[in-house]
């Protein structure tokens, strides 16, 4: 729920400043959080360039923020140790943007019961609620799934929950810190009058007959068809996975008939880029001949090519497989364009074709590597506790090789949780020898993808760790992130391949198993981890301080103004501190410090008395005037010898 008052709003592009004390990993994760805001909301962030009010992010003791724009110039937001999780950062910035916790909204008692006797002594104030003159829920229903909601065990004094949801099935839903919920986004959008998001371009699950404005291309020999199943497979789409009868469409290019070389073009609607880099993500199903091809092209429009010019980007090299496969493609387009999916029938006979579903295009960077774990629910249930499974080794674009380790059934210290760790591992000798060791400032991100069709509605769970080249192994002089051949252990893959694995860094509380079973973390039985390594060495240096700074409101004039009787001091037009006085149904305070009280009764008495006084005064004035005039004219007539006439006829 949001604080009422436009004075608490920020401009939709919020200036920020990163303090030098911030951890490098935290800086990287904050930038990732900003990207989520840009993808899903109209809120953008920019480095502070002298604006009067800005958010100063620093490493305090813990994670905290103020609520709303306090107009104090430098407004502090702390991302301390243990706070460098994307959801925590998004949570704190939602506070800064003017939102309180969900369970403090005025109507919360309709939805949750606060168990006052189970709250730690002295912490009861954490369960305050605000009435609807102070807070607004922006006409959005109570949101158990809000990332601003406490969890059921917050501030408890024992083992029993402090918050009991009136609908029991929501008891484990509250307290999620994965991503913005749909309602979080709706409220933010209403509060800031958003009309569009910053980096989102298009999404399509082909559920509607208009296929999101996509068109069949010209000059081809075949068409893509919108179907709910295809001969040769798939039997169902990816968006719904057969969950809803009568829905579940995808686009299919059949290669059963036709000639070798026949092609079909499916072109997206016109798109207008802002950032000049994009990520295209889609699922495809290849049930045709191994020689059938799926190519991604773009049609770019410019003055020289008003009808667009086709440019080939990539051939998707997936072999026929009986499953929907995820594919990412980085684009770098700066003019008006369309994305073109081109299917081509290859040599040989086919019993199927190529299918497409859940296309998303955004102006973001693509994840680098995909680790798909089949039958994930079964793996969670059947892997012994304290047992880790490892992803394949992935080589990043910087040359470093890394992998992820996952505890699918928790550890003895954190049962019921997925644990996730990242490791540097040895690659081939020649490459590793040419790399810088210890590995400097590489941020590894492990994301469990929420496979919802629309990228804006995904609540993927992600954690990042960063290689600090100066960090030492505990009780050792060796560097943690040194060459795994030096600080790691030799391990052997199931296929007998031997390599070295360095120390792991991560968390035993990555995501609860219960949450992993919700949403679309598992789809078609499979979980998908997206893994990326990014060089964030540029975040080591200080953020430049602007040379010219807009004058700030003298730190806060309100500190010198004392408003009485529950009045609130606010900055009027950023210049004058004024008191906003408390009002009730039939009373109000007034005066420069709200020192006077008035009410409807007082006003009535005042009005009656005033009326009587005015009437009396006017009566006196009228009588005096009449008397004076009479006297004056009588004298005048006497002087001129006039005759005073009286009525002569009745």
């Amino acid at each position: 729920n949001s604080i009422i008052g436009d004075e608490y709003l920020w401009p939709t592009t919020v200036p920020y400043y990163f303090g030098d004390d911030l951890d490098i990993n935290a800086k990287g994760v904050i930038l990732k959080a900003f990207e989520q805001y840009r993808l899903k909301t109209c809120i953008d962030y920019k480095p502070w360039s002298g604006e009067k009010n800005y958010i100063s992010v620093f490493k305090g003791s813990g994670c905290f923020s103020s609520v709303g724009n306090r107009r104090v110039g430098k407004q502090q937001l702390s991302i301390g140790a243990g706070c460098d999780r994307i959801a925590t950062i998004e949570h704190e910035f939602l506070h800064a943007l003017g939102f309180w916790h969900e369970q403090s909204r005025a109507d919360r008692d309709d939805y949750v019961t606060i168990m006052w006797d189970r709250i730690e002594a002295g912490r009861e104030h954490n369960f305050n609620k605000y009435d609807d003159t102070t807070s607004s829920s922006l006409n959005v229903p109570y949101d158990y799934g809000s990332m601003m909601h406490y969890s059921k065990n917050s501030f408890r004094n024992g083992t029993e929950p402090t918050i009991v949801t009136k609908i029991p099935s929501f008891s484990d839903v509250i307290g999620q810190r994965m991503e913005f919920s749909d309602s979080d986004l709706l409220k933010l959008s209403r509060r800031y009058n958003c009309t569009r998001t910053t980096t989102f371009l298009d999404t399509c699950d082909f559920e509607l007959e208009n296929i999101c404005g996509m068109i069949q291309g010209q000059g081809d020999q075949a068409d893509w068809e919108r179907v709910s199943e295809a001969i040769g497979g798939p039997d169902m789409d990816y968006s719904n996975m057969g969950r809803c009868t009568g829905t579940g469409y995808f686009m299919h290019f059949s290669t059963i008939n036709g000639m070798e070389g026949d092609s079909a073009l499916l072109e997206s609607r016109l798109l207008y880029p802002n950032r000049n880099y994009q990520c295209l993500q889609f699922f495809y199903y290849h049930s045709g001949n191994v020689n059938d091809k799926l190519e991604i092209w773009v049609r770019e429009y410019n003055e020289a090519n008003p009808d667009g010019k086709l440019r080939m980007i990539e051939v998707v090299n997936g072999l026929p497989e009986p499953l929907w496969q995820l594919h990412h493609l980085s684009l770098a387009i700066s003019t008006k364009f369309r994305v073109v999916f081109k299917g081509t029938k290859g040599a040989g006979t086919s019993t199927g074709g190529i299918s497409l579903d859940d296309v998303n295009l955004s102006e973001t960077t693509c994840p680098e590597h995909v680790w798909r774990i089949k039958n994930f629910k079964s793996i969670m249930e059947n892997t012994p506790m304290d047992t880790i499974i490892y992803s394949p080794r992935f080589r990043s674009k910087y040359g470093y090789t890394f992998q992820m380790g996952l505890y699918p059934n928790g550890t003895s210290t954190s049962p019921g949780e997925l644990g996730a760790f990242a490791y540097l591992v040895s690659g081939d000798n020649a490459t590793d020898d040419n790399l810088t060791w210890p590995c400097p400032w590489m941020q590894i991100t492990m994301m469990l993808m929420d496979q919802h069709a629309d990228i804006r509605k995904r609540m993927s769970n992600q954690r990042s760790i960063t290689t600090d080249p100066n960090q030492k192994l505990q009780d050792s002089t060796m560097f943690t992130w040194d060459n795994p051949r030096k600080v790691g252990m030799e391990v052997e893959d199931a296929d007998g391949t031997k390599y070295f694995r360095g120390p792991g860094y991560g968390t035993s509380v990555y995501l609860t198993q219960a949450r992993a079973l919700t949403r679309d973390f598992i789809k078609g039985g499979d979980a998908i981890f997206l893994l990326t390594m990014e060089d964030i060495a540029h975040l080591v240096s200080s953020q430049p301080v602007p040379t010219t700074v807009e004058p700030t409101t003298p730190s806060n004039l309100c500190t010198s103004v004392k408003c009485e009787n529950n009045g609130v001091c606010v900055m009027d037009n950023d210049k004058i501190a004024v008191c906003r006085c408390a009002v009730g149904n039939d009373w109000w305070y007034y005066g420069d410090r709200c020192q006077y009280k008035s009410s409807n009764n007082d006003a009535m008495v005042t009005a009656v008395v005033s009326s009587v006084v005015v009437f009396a005064v006017m009566l006196v004035v009228t009588v005096v005037s009449v008397v004076c005039l009479r006297k004056k004219y009588k004298k005048k007539m006497n002087k001129t010898g006039g005759v005073t006439t009286t009525n002569m006829y009745a």
Partner: protein, 40 residues
């Protein structure tokens, strides 16, 4: 062989409120800076 193989960066703390509690913070609603001088 005696090398530590994994570091848990969270120390088992699941939520930001646990992080704040462990840091000894007693902020308004767990993570909100509240300035009484401002009246809210």
């Amino acid at each position: 062989t005696s090398k530590i193989t994994e570091y848990d960066v969270d120390g088992g703390k699941e939520d930001l409120f646990e992080v704040n509690q462990a840091a000894g913070l007693d902020l308004f609603e767990g993570d909100i800076l509240f300035d009484e001088k401002e009246g809210r």
